[in-house]
């Protein structure tokens, strides 16, 4: 019987799911999600998708149950999982940002620093990181695990929390303030060490990494087309970013050129008005699927 080579891909369920699906679609895959049976299928017979809770994925990759997957960096650290970190995908829940893991206490709390936490109760989603953190500071605390947001539990059930912060809105809502930032975290593509030693799997995983990274980068960039005259060109080329060399094509029978380039969307906000001032015309911006530098 012919054996089909396959990799098992760990899809994060919960809050990292939608972002991961978006990246796969832009990478060129068709993705089918079955909410009720926790099943994700993609149109590549060489990739078998397995869904998992975000925080449970790193140990599964370490054991080799899953070859490659997407999880939050902090859960790799909290599980002390020995995995290979391939690509920082750096997307977050809704806001596409990295998040921070912080120590927070009620706004009116007497606790002013880590040292004041001796003998106190802390609730967190990342207990091992929390314990290491307190040990480092020589503080004795009672660390309790929760797999629900910790904010509502403070101060009624604990004195402080160690939680994810993205925009800070949730902390403000529960009248909590940040005392310390433990680390920054974002979603990473991680792989099993032995899977990368297998020649076929390694290529498959590396190809997937190129595509997902390209899809992620394309979310930050856009294409730009404009018309500029010969006299404007020098100034235009100075304004355009250097990620990709602009493609310049002369327009038929005129002293004008068609310029095509790629730029960061946030830069484009500044570039377009400047190009307009230089005298460029017909400026068109268009979305991208993948950017592979």
């Amino acid at each position: 019987m012919k054996k089909i080579n396959k990799i098992k891909f760990g899809f994060p369920w919960e809050y990292l799911r939608e972002g991961a699906i978006e990246l796969f679609k832009k990478a060129g895959y068709e993705v089918d999600v079955d909410e009720h049976s926790y099943r994700i299928e993609i149109d590549d017979p060489e990739i078998e998708c397995v869904t998992s809770k975000v925080e449970e994925l790193a140990p599964l990759v370490e054991k080799g149950v899953i070859d490659v997957g997407i999880t939050e960096k902090v859960f790799v650290l909290d599980n002390k999982a020995k995995v290979i970190e391939l690509v920082n995908l750096e997307y977050g829940y809704k806001t596409w940002k990295r998040s921070k893991i912080v120590l927070a206490v009620p706004e009116n709390s007497r606790i002013k620093s880590v040292r004041d936490l001796n003998g106190k109760r802390i609730v967190t989603w990342v207990p091992r990181i929390a314990k290491d953190y307190f040990k480092k500071h020589g503080v004795n605390t009672e660390v309790e695990f929760t797999n629900l947001p910790a904010e509502p539990k403070c101060p009624s059930l604990c004195d402080a929390i160690i939680e994810f912060v993205n925009t800070g809105a949730s902390l403000r809502k529960f009248h909590l303030k940040i005392l310390d930032i433990l680390l920054e975290t974002s979603p990473w593509l991680i792989a099993n060490e032995n899977s990368l030693k297998d020649k076929w799997k390694r290529k498959k995983i590396e190809d997937l990494a190129i595509l997902l990274k390209g899809a992620r980068l394309a979310q930050e960039y856009a294409g730009l087309i404009l018309h500029a005259s010969n006299e404007m060109m020098e100034e235009v080329l100075k304004v355009l970013p250097a990620l990709k060399k602009p493609t310049v094509t002369p327009l038929r029978g005129e002293n004008w050129f068609d310029v095509l380039t790629v730029a960061n969307k946030k830069e484009i906000r500044k570039i377009i008005p400047r190009l307009k001032k230089i005298g460029c015309t017909d400026i068109v911006e268009f979305p991208l699927n993948k950017v592979v530098i």
């Binding site: 049976s37 595509l211 960039y221 493609t247 268009f286 991208l288």
Partner: protein
């Protein structure tokens, strides 16, 4: 003053989202109210109606509609005399292909279509199934099902002929597939009288061109990359031949700028390969329409 207007049927249900999407890419905005079926479209020459795809072929045959979108399954089942203007098969339907299959309980003694003799089959496609049985020279009882056919065997029917996309629901009901009787694609259909009316025919042909362009555009992307001069020939050989590449030499450098079109699905293999071969700054962008 006689106003030229085309009456268009948009399918409600599983084809709806896709239909609205390709119309949008074709350049038409169709507004679907939260409740109710009175659609509006930003073309004064078209009047839209949201109808079940089962009924659209019949209304087209009768001339109540000039044009509509429906599946092969319902066109066949209605036995309506309609004209197929074009296929609008959705490229990204690898996982969710609409298939009509013959399914029986896993432990059933029915092993093939021949064993259906004298049995009861429940289906939404009564006419199509009768034709299928006749073709296989099997006499069986065909019962119309209003839907949810999976629950019927073995108590209410011996077998079903039902549509499936992924087969998950069949598996969940302990059914196994014995045969595929039909694979259904999406079609743009009209009737003879509209097709003979000069104005309507032109309008339909223009619309078909745009819709097909939108379907194709969904499938194809553009790629642009920089390639060093010494690697150009080797890389050009691996590029897909969908359209000849546009090659430009970068001023004052031994680098080339190459632009191609390719199927989106092919980029999964092509892009990592190009990167390995030395192409740089590979940028891919989607197309809205592609009219060959």
């Amino acid at each position: 003053m006689a106003e030229n207007k085309l009456k268009l049927g948009i399918p409600k249900g599983s084809l709806q989202e896709y239909t609205l999407k390709i119309f949008k890419s074709a350049g038409f905005d169709i507004n679907v109210p939260e409740r109710g079926y009175f659609l509006t479209i930003d073309d004064p020459e078209i009047e839209c109606f949201l109808l079940r795809p089962q009924e659209i072929p019949r209304y087209i045959e009768k001339g109540k509609l000039d044009l509509g979108i429906s599946g092969d399954d319902w066109i066949l089942e209605s036995k309506a005399k309609v004209i197929e203007v074009c296929d609008l098969k959705y490229a990204k339907q690898e996982i969710k292909k609409v298939k009509w299959v013959l399914a029986v309980p896993k432990d059933s003694k029915i092993k093939s279509v021949k064993d259906l003799k004298g049995k009861t089959i429940s289906t939404e496609l009564v006419n199509t199934v009768k034709d299928y049985l006749r073709k296989n020279q099997v006499k069986a009882r065909v019962e119309f099902s209003w839907g949810a056919s999976e629950v019927k065997p073995p108590l209410f029917a011996d077998a079903i002929i039902d549509n499936t996309e992924t087969g998950v629901s069949l598996k969940a009901h302990n059914l196994k597939i014995l045969d595929t009787i039909l694979e259904s694609s999406t079609k743009l259909i009209t009737n003879k009288s509209a097709w003979q009316d000069k104005w309507k025919r032109e309008k339909i042909k223009d619309l078909a061109l745009l819709l097909q362009g939108a379907v194709k555009g969904e499938e194809v992307v553009n790629l642009m990359m920089h390639i060093p001069g010494e690697k150009l020939n080797r890389i050009l050989k691996v590029l897909p031949k969908l359209k000849s590449p546009t090659i430009k030499k970068l001023a004052g450098e031994n680098w080339y700028d190459v632009e191609i079109s390719c199927k989106e699905k092919d980029t999964r293999e092509l892009i990592p390969k190009l990167k390995r071969m030395g192409a740089q700054g590979i940028v891919e962008w989607p197309l809205i329409k592609l009219v060959p």
